[in-house]
Subunit: 545 residues, 2 copies
């Protein structure tokens, strides 16, 4: 028997309609690429998103066609966030930090029909457009008079002229909520990038989840600053969370330095900000050097990589800002876990609270997770045992665009996405990443975290960088060794370093060897390329073998 | 093109699984009908809900079969909230305050197969069970040794024996999220009661909406006390919101007096409570007479009827508790609007904030609303114009069980549910109920709120009760008159009272006549029965006609 409730699909246009109707005068403030501050309202956003929809109709784009953006965080980008999927097309956010060849590969793989780009990226587009045969329309996100006389890009038009020619009147179509809405490619360290294709349903449910008090806790009383780029997994869903709540939104544009961010926060009375630790470090440094305080910011969500404990303390003790760790990935929309405390934690001493805050957090409703061992069996949630982290839920990916379904079926036939992370989960459901699956060393049935090994080496005063990898061993399957780059002028011997490990980790976890190298190979995003390191060490044999 | 996200239905079992896995040790505390305090955890709840599911399987109940509850707020009732729909059946919450004949009518209309009742209601069941032929199984929510030797109810068994015989192991089935999950009948003042049939999808989406910071703002840091009965529209969804967030839940059982509620709040460190104004008045009176304060409560949601301004002030000024108005109905699951302030309101003086708080609030994302005039056209959102309030959204009803679809289609073909309320909406989206549609007086194309007319009369020192109704008028269609019950010993003339209106409302809104009556007819729930009043005044003619 079916329930007799209204059959209303969860569509991105429903988010925009809600914001327009119920929060029409709430503000969206952007620092533009041009440098000035632009401000308007959700009502204006809705009108211009409808112009975008009409402009796409005028191009003859079909439902499901991909429209790419190559842009900073700002109001025009937000218009694409709603106008493109609202009208049934798919917004493909391109990451301008990728190598141009990789970007071209992605545009061709996605078969983008339109690319809208900030003027910052004009040289990039000039260098690559000819290699993108599927793209019929290039749009520069600027006023008509900012367009260069001869860009060399056939038919290039300005966004303002393009949408300015259209009516601000548009009836958002109603369709299946499982329709594709947005896509984002992973920048994997191996192989070609892979595309995650979000649906309207997954975006709307993710926005509900993200706004919850146990996640980012966003309301109409907030002014939110997404420093996380809109080309990184939909800026963690914040533009959609904003529309769901009617929160004021403040976009930093390309100006990510400490001074610019601080001034924007103060001028617009930002209460909530989200970003990666490097940005916050620049901000804190600027504030500390100038004796500044926040007048409105009260919390920040940090993701992308782990936040140093000292930064969490500084934010709280010096600036009265609560720091929340969050974890997610392109394939998880991205919110998987957020480190909001439970009632039972509120009375713990500060040090114990910090230990919990340093973990990646607990699942947001909509996400379930588990850790499994080599045999695929569940590992206990005791904060010690670790295993491969698997997740499932309505905003977790099933299958890559034009690609494989990586899900692992459980006994009930339910698919779980293998995150590629190794983690522990404690009895309260707080997850902590301990390693990447491909980096963990499996020795005698036990797992050794390469990160743990690296952290100890990095604590030695003579070590500049350390990378731990597993080497084949006839008895133990694998044993860890650590490759070390010495600090300039410093010295340390193999024996010194191995001795340095004693008492810091269990005896059987101490690496079998230290290999001194000139450099550790790094990828484009600064991550260590352990596959390359393995190649460099081809022919290496463990001591005694 | 479809998005490639996991296809996971939104099911009530997903809420329970989440609470069990991620908040297994969070507490559920109940004052039992037996008078003592019972406490256990979500892990225990999940185990016993699975026993309920197995017990229903053992009875041979099919998917969609109705299982009724007749019970106070407590852990056993919560087990039914999850075990019944989780296993594919429909939980039908019966209102024990209805007239027994009406309850029998509802049980027969719903074709309930099982009825689970608190021992409080044993006499009611003894008096009615023989008239309920569809009910094959009667279950008393108690221990086996509490069952009377001869209840007169064939096959009556205790809940503890019934589920105690079952395993706590059960794989929740996966099915279409539009499957019926729960039902609740309206207690309409005219005609037979009508059943709203909620789906798993509507329940889960409503739980997301209810937990939002702009709605009830529930998190794992809360201890919530649903004083609103679990037989009133799923206790405003709070048992489901609780599972979604892992909040501690505290149930009052049948003990609703001020002392019992206060003691429970303090003992269990309740942070959030929800209920109707009458309960809170008893609580405040108890606290004021005994010089008591709250140590943990920080906010309360009040619905069901409007909260007197003085109560909002008292809660805030004397007790530091924030009061939120909410509006909804059986057909809206029930959350439609909540009166959380927007950022722009935070700096207003207290009096202006109070004026906003006195409204019914603004739409929770998932609900859209509009007000329309007699011509079906939208009325402006200026806080003055009023019209019939219509709502739509995925947790708003489409069609009554075995009944009609009352939706009104708009130009885009979208259905809107007519609430039967007349309301204004201001520019910030705050809705205020001004009357019931059937009570509003339509005079010369303008609408006059019967409630406004009654409020003025009630402010006169000699008036005990007042009811305003419209009377036919050849020129103006209708003109208002007010029926008045005088206070014992007090006196007032028709002319005095009509003069009393001057300057308080517009001249054309002043009633044409005052009729003094012995009593205003009231319905079972204490609401004025204006239809009956009209019958009583049959033959009445307006002055001058």
């Amino acid at each position: 028997m079916l329930g007799l409730m209204q059959n209303q699909p969860l569509l991105i246009s429903m988010l925009l309609d809600f914001a327009e109707r119920h929060h029409g005068d709430a503000e969206i403030v952007s620092r533009r690429v041009e440098g000035d501050i632009h401000r308007y309202t959700y009502k204006d956003l809705a009108a211009r998103a409808k112009q975008v929809a009409n402009a796409l109709d005028a191009l003859g784009l079909q439902g499901g066609d991909r429209v790419a953006s190559l842009a900073w965080n700002g109001y025009r980008h937000m218009e694409l966030y709603f106008g493109v999927p609202g009208s049934g097309r798919v917004l493909h956010t391109l990451n301008p930090r990728l190598h141009p060849d990789q970007m071209v590969w992605i545009i061709n793989h996605a078969e983008d029909k339109v690319v809208c780009f900030d003027m910052t990226f004009l040289p990039l587009v000039q260098a690559t457009h000819a290699k993108c045969p599927t793209v019929k329309t290039w749009v520069a996100l600027c006023d008509a008079d900012k367009l260069p006389a001869d860009s060399g890009i056939p038919g290039l038009q300005s966004y303002e002229a393009w949408i300015g020619a259209q009516k601000a009147d548009y009836a958002w179509p109603q369709f299946d909520e499982n329709t594709a809405a947005a896509m984002c490619y992973t920048s994997g360290t191996t192989g070609n990038p892979k595309g995650a294709l979000y649906s309207h349903r997954s975006v709307v449910l993710h926005a509900y989840g993200g706004a919850l008090p146990d996640a980012m806790g966003i309301s109409a009383r907030d002014a939110i600053l997404p420093v996380v780029p809109m080309f990184h997994v939909n800026a963690w869903g914040l533009p959609y969370v904003a529309a769901l709540t009617g929160a004021k939104v403040v976009y930093p544009g390309p100006a990510m330095d400490g001074k610019s961010i601080y001034e924007l926060m103060e001028a617009e009375k930002v209460t909530f900000a989200a970003g990666v630790p490097t940005i916050w470090q620049m901000l804190l440094t600027h504030m500390q050097s100038n004796g500044l305080k926040f007048s409105s910011l009260n919390r920040t969500v940090i993701g992308g990589s782990a936040c140093p404990p000292a930064m969490i303390d500084t934010f709280r003790d010096e600036f009265g800002v609560d720091v929340l760790h969050a974890w997610g990935m392109t394939e998880t929309s991205p919110l998987g876990t957020v480190g909001t405390l439970k009632n039972k934690h509120l009375k713990l001493p500060k040090e114990q609270q910090l230990a919990i805050r340093l973990k990646q957090g607990r699942a947001v409703f909509g996400v379930d997770m588990k850790i499994v061992g080599d045999d695929g069996k569940d590992q206990p949630w005791d904060g010690k045992a670790y295993g491969d982290l698997l997740v499932r839920g309505p905003w977790i990916m099933d299958t890559y665009f034009k690609g494989q379904c990586p899900l692992i079926k459980d006994e009930q036939g339910r698919g779980w996405f293998p995150t590629g992370d190794v983690a522990t989960i404690d009895a309260d459901g707080f997850m902590q990443i301990t390693d990447r699956s491909k980096d963990v060393i499996k020795s005698g049935g036990e797992w050794i975290s390469s990160i743990d090994i690296e952290n100890v080496a990095m604590a030695h005063p003579a070590v500049a960088m350390a990378a731990c990898i597993g080497m084949p061993h006839p008895k133990w399957d694998e044993r860890p060794i650590v490759a070390v780059v010495k600090k300039p002028g410093a010295d340390v011997t193999r024996e010194d370093l191995l001795k340095f490990y004693e008492g810091k980790i269990a005896k059987w976890q101490i690496p079998d060897d230290v290999v001194f190298v000139e450099a550790i190979p790094l990828g484009a995003t600064g991550k260590m390329l352990k596959t390359k390191l393995r190649e460099d060490l081809k022919g290496y044999k463990l001591p005694g073998l």
